[in-house]
Symmetry: D2
Subunit: 324 residues, 4 copies
Amino acid sequence: MWIIVRQSHAQDGFRIAVQHGRDMTATLSGIIPPMITPLRARDELDHAGLERLIEHLISGGVSGLFLLGTTGEGPALGARLRAELVERTCRQVNGRVPVLVCVTDTAFTESLNVARAAADAGADALVAAPPFYWPLGQPEMEHYFDALAGELPLPLVLYNMPALTKTPIPVATVRRAMDNPKIIGMKDSSGNLGYLHQILRARAGRTDWPVLVGDEETLPYAMQAGADGGVNGGANVFPRLYAKYFQAAVSKSGDLDMLHPLVIRMGDLYRNGSHASSGIKGIKCALSLLGICDDFMAEPFERFSAHERERVASLIEEQRSQVP
Amino acid sequence: MWIIVRQSHAQDGFRIAVQHGRDMTATLSGIIPPMITPLRARDELDHAGLERLIEHLISGGVSGLFLLGTTGEGPALGARLRAELVERTCRQVNGRVPVLVCVTDTAFTESLNVARAAADAGADALVAAPPFYWPLGQPEMEHYFDALAGELPLPLVLYNMPALTKTPIPVATVRRAMDNPKIIGMKDSSGNLGYLHQILRARAGRTDWPVLVGDEETLPYAMQAGADGGVNGGANVFPRLYAKYFQAAVSKSGDLDMLHPLVIRMGDLYRNGSHASSGIKGIKCALSLLGICDDFMAEPFERFSAHERERVASLIEEQRSQVP
Amino acid sequence: MWIIVRQSHAQDGFRIAVQHGRDMTATLSGIIPPMITPLRARDELDHAGLERLIEHLISGGVSGLFLLGTTGEGPALGARLRAELVERTCRQVNGRVPVLVCVTDTAFTESLNVARAAADAGADALVAAPPFYWPLGQPEMEHYFDALAGELPLPLVLYNMPALTKTPIPVATVRRAMDNPKIIGMKDSSGNLGYLHQILRARAGRTDWPVLVGDEETLPYAMQAGADGGVNGGANVFPRLYAKYFQAAVSKSGDLDMLHPLVIRMGDLYRNGSHASSGIKGIKCALSLLGICDDFMAEPFERFSAHERERVASLIEEQRSQVP
Amino acid sequence: MWIIVRQSHAQDGFRIAVQHGRDMTATLSGIIPPMITPLRARDELDHAGLERLIEHLISGGVSGLFLLGTTGEGPALGARLRAELVERTCRQVNGRVPVLVCVTDTAFTESLNVARAAADAGADALVAAPPFYWPLGQPEMEHYFDALAGELPLPLVLYNMPALTKTPIPVATVRRAMDNPKIIGMKDSSGNLGYLHQILRARAGRTDWPVLVGDEETLPYAMQAGADGGVNGGANVFPRLYAKYFQAAVSKSGDLDMLHPLVIRMGDLYRNGSHASSGIKGIKCALSLLGICDDFMAEPFERFSAHERERVASLIEEQRSQVP
C-alpha cells in the first residue's frame, strides 16, 4: 500500500493528494527544475554544492524539484548514489516544495529500488520514461506503465523524451493513462508543439492532470498552449527568471514581453558544442561559475574545457545583467 | 590489480592469458552463444532451466558463454539478479568453457558492480558496449573505454551494437583500443560487412585480437571475411548446428554447403513480429518448446502468445529434422 | 541579366525591388498559401478549379501565392505541367498579389527550366530547397545555392524542409546567404522553434530579409518569435482565417485569443492517416468538399477514400461555423 | 503496346523476351555496371569520354549497362541530357550488351518521358526506385509500381535503394510484383543480406526473375546467397575484375580466393570523404586518372580536390598491379 501525501502550496498551486482509493487528485504547476546532480568525483556527491543548489532553487521561487532526470544525469548514476541524492535532498527540502524523483531505468527492478528509496525519503511523486534500450511497441509500453504504476509506492508522472528513449509515448497511451489513478500527470520533453496540442486536447477538462514541458526553446509557447509548467534545465541557473516568467504567463502581465527573450536566450546553453550532453555540461559549468557547485560530470562525459567555459561565462554575464 | 587467468581450450582455440604487464595475449574463437537468461518471474531466475540450458550449450560444443548481452536481456535485469546469474553460471560451468560477462550499463558504477561480481565468480572476460542513453561523440567514447578498461578487474571485449546503443564504435576508436592491453578483442553486432571489413583490416596481423560477430544473417559471410567466431542468438537453440558450422568454416569442409542455409534460416526467428524484442522472445519460446527453460520475459516485454508460439514451433520442427 | 520587378502592396507589406546591383530590397510578409495544384487527371490541370481556387485565395485576403511547393505536389509534377500552372496562375492573378514559384528539383537544369517559365510568366520570386536525393554536406549546399542564385532570372527565397529533403539548411549557411543580394529571404518548414530563433537572431536588424514559416502547428508561436508570415497549407481552405490571424498577430489585437485555437485546430488536417501525404490529401479533399476543385492526386498518391473524407468533412464543418 | 525484344547472350545468360502476353521471360545476370555519366560541364555530355567508357566496359566483359542510376547521377540530370545519354549509349552499344535505363523520378510523367526516350533508342529494360520526396506507405508503393509498369513501353526492374529513397520496398511488395508480367526482376542496393535472403526465398524456383545487387561490400556474399549478378560502381573502373569475379563465383573456381579481397577493397572508393556522394566522385576521379573521361560532377556536387585525388590514385595504383 502507498502512503497518503497531502500538500498544498498556495503560491504555485502544487497539490498532490494521494489516497488508497480512486479519488486521488494531483496538481503540479509552475517551474520545477530538473536539478543537476552536483558531483565531486565519480560516485561521490558534492554535499556542500548540493545544499547550496537546493537553497538557490528554493529561494529562487521554484515550485518543486525534479531529481535524476536527463539533466540530473540519472541514467549515468549508480543505485547507491541515486538513493543518497534523494535522501539528502528530501531531508534538506523538508517539505518546502514537492520533490519528484525520476526512476527511469532499463531494469524494472532498479526503477522500483529508486522508487522505494524515494518513498522512504519522503518524496512526493515519481517520474518514468519508457525503458530505452530496445524500442517498444505501443502494447508493450502500455503494459509497462500499467505494471510500473501498479508496483510504485508513489504516484507516477509519465515522461516523454523520444530523442533519448527512442520511443515516443503515443497520444493514445497517454489518454489511456489518464484513467489510471496512480498516473497523475505528464512531462513532455519532445519540444513538439503538435504533439503537445494533442495531449492537451486529450486531457481537456481534467484540471487535475497536469502537463509540464521540458524543452527550453518552446516553454513560452507551451505555456500559451495550456501547459501547466516547465521542467527546464536553465532554471537550475536562474530559477527566479523562470519563476517570474511563469507568474507573468499565468497572469498575462506585461512582464512577459521582457522575460520571453531572456528565457529563449537560455536555449543557447544547449548549443555550446555539438554533443548531446552539451546542455548538462553548460548548466553545470554555469553553476560552477556562479560558485554554487562543482561541474564534475559522471562518465561518459567530462566537464567543459576552458574554451567552452568562456562562452558559458559570456552568456551568464549577459543574462545576469538583465534577469530580475 | 587484476588476477592472472590462463586457460587453454585446444578444441576451439580459446585462450585468455592475462598478466600484469603488456604481454597479455588473448584468443577467442568459435561459437560463444549470447545466453538468454532463464526467468521464472520478475527478478527471479529459473534455476533448473538455467542448469539445463548450460548443459545443453556445453554439450552442444560451444566455445564459451556470453552472459547479459542484448539476447540475455542484460539491460532489463537488476544488479542483484545479474550477479546471481553470473555466480550460478560460473559455478556450474566450472571452467569447462570460458565465461564472458557483459557489463554494459548507462551508469559506470553499475558496470563496475557487475564486473566485480563477475571477477569474484571466476568469469574470464568482460564485454561492454558504449553507454546508450545519450549519444556519444568519438572523444567521449574513447575516454569512456579508457576509463572503464582501467577500472575493470578483468580484460575487456568491445561490443559494437549501434542499432540499440545509437552510437557505433568508430573504426579509429577500435584501432586505438588495440593498443590498450586490457582491451582484448571485439564483438561486432552491426551486421554491416563494410564496417567489419575495415575492422578486420585494422587488426591485420594481430592474431591475438579476436573479432566475433553477432548478426545471425551475416555469420557465414563474416566467417569468410576473417571473423573469429559468432555470438549468435540462435546457438541458444541449436548449439551443435553453429559449432559444426564454425568447424566447417575453419576447415573449409564440404559440410558448409549443407549447414549454410540452416544457419541463415535461423534468422527467421528474429522476424516473428515487428518489435525489436521478437528475436529474444523467439529464442526463449523455442527453448521452452524444447523443454529446456521457461520463456518468461523481463519487463517491458512479454512472452509470445499462442499464435506466435505456433510459428516458432514450425520453424523449430523444420530445423530439427535437418540440423546435425 | 534579370529584370526589375517592383511591387508594393501596402496592405501586407509585400515588396520586391530587384535591381541589377547590390541595393535590392525585398519584403515578404503575411499569409502566402502553398497553393495545392488542382488536377483532373494525371498530367492534366483542373482549369476551372484552378481559377476558382485563385479567386478564393485572393478574395480571402492572402498576401501572395506560393506555387509548386510540397503542398503543391511540385516534385510529383512534370516540367510541362509545372510551366502550365505557373503561366495560367500568373495570368489570372495579374499582379494582384505576388507569385512565388518553387523550383526545387534534384536536377539543376530542371530548376532552371521552371525558373525561366516563371520569369516568362511574370512571377515575382523563386523558392528552392536543397536537392534531396543525396544528403548534402554544408560546403556542397553553399556551393549549390550560390550557383543556383547566380543562374536564376528572379530573386531566390531559401526553403528549409529537412523532413523531406534530408538535409536542414545550417544556420551558418543562411547567415552567409543573407549577404547574397539575389537571396532575399527564407521559408522555414522545420517546425523547430529553436532553429527559427537562431535564424531570426542571425538576421537581426535586417527588416528586408523576411522569414516565413510553413508549419501549421507552430505558426502562432513563430509569429510571436518574430517571423514575417506563414506559408500554411490550411490557408488553401480558409484563407480569411489565416489572413485575419496574421493581422491580429501584427496588431496584437484581442482577436488573437479567438483565432489562435482555430489555426491550431487546422493541424488536424495533417493527421488524418499515417502517411506523409495525408496533409495534401486532406487539403485537396476539403477543397473538393467546398466545391472549389477536384481532389485528384498526382502519383504516387491517391485521393482520400470515403472514410477519411467523412472525417475531413467533420473538421471543415466544425471550423466553418467558427471561422470569420 | 510495347514491342517485342528478344536477345540472347550465351556468354552471360542475359535474355529478355518481351511479348504482348503473359509468357514473357527475362533473365539478367552477370556484372551490369551502373555507368557513370561522363560530363564536360553542366548539362553537357563528355562525348569522347562516353565513347571510351562504353568500350572500356564492353571490352572488360560486362553483361550489360545500367544508365542513370544513383552512380549515373540520374536524379541530378535534366530530361534533355538523360535522353541524349540514352540515345548515344544505345547507338554505340548497338546491341552488343543489353542496356537498362533507370527512370526513377519524383514525377511520374518524367519517368515516362525517360522511358519513351529509352524505348525509342532501343534500350532493353527500365529500372525504377520508388519516388523519393515523400515517404510512401506500402499500398501507395504497390499502386505506384502497378501504374508505372502498366504505362511503361519496356519491362521494369524494381530498384530497392532505401538509403536514398527513404522507403524500402517491402518483401511482400516484391513478392506481389513477381506476378506482374511487366516486372521482370529486381536490383537490391540495400546492402542488407537479411532482406536479400528473404527476397531470394520469395522468388525460389523462379529462375526467370533475376535479383541483382548493388552494394560493393557485400557482392561476394550476395552471389553466394543466390543473387544473379551485380550492379556495382567499381565495375566502371575495373570491369574485368568484376566480370572475372562473377565467372569465378558461378563456376566456384579457385580464382575466387584471389579476386574476393580485390572486390572488397574497391569498397574503399566509397569512403574517401564523409559525404554521401564520395562514391560517385571517387569513380569519376578514378576514370579521369585512367584517361577515360572527365570527372565533372553535376550540381550539387563538385569533383574531388587534389588531396582526395591523390588518395584515389593510390588505391587505383595498388589495385592495377593486382587485378587481372
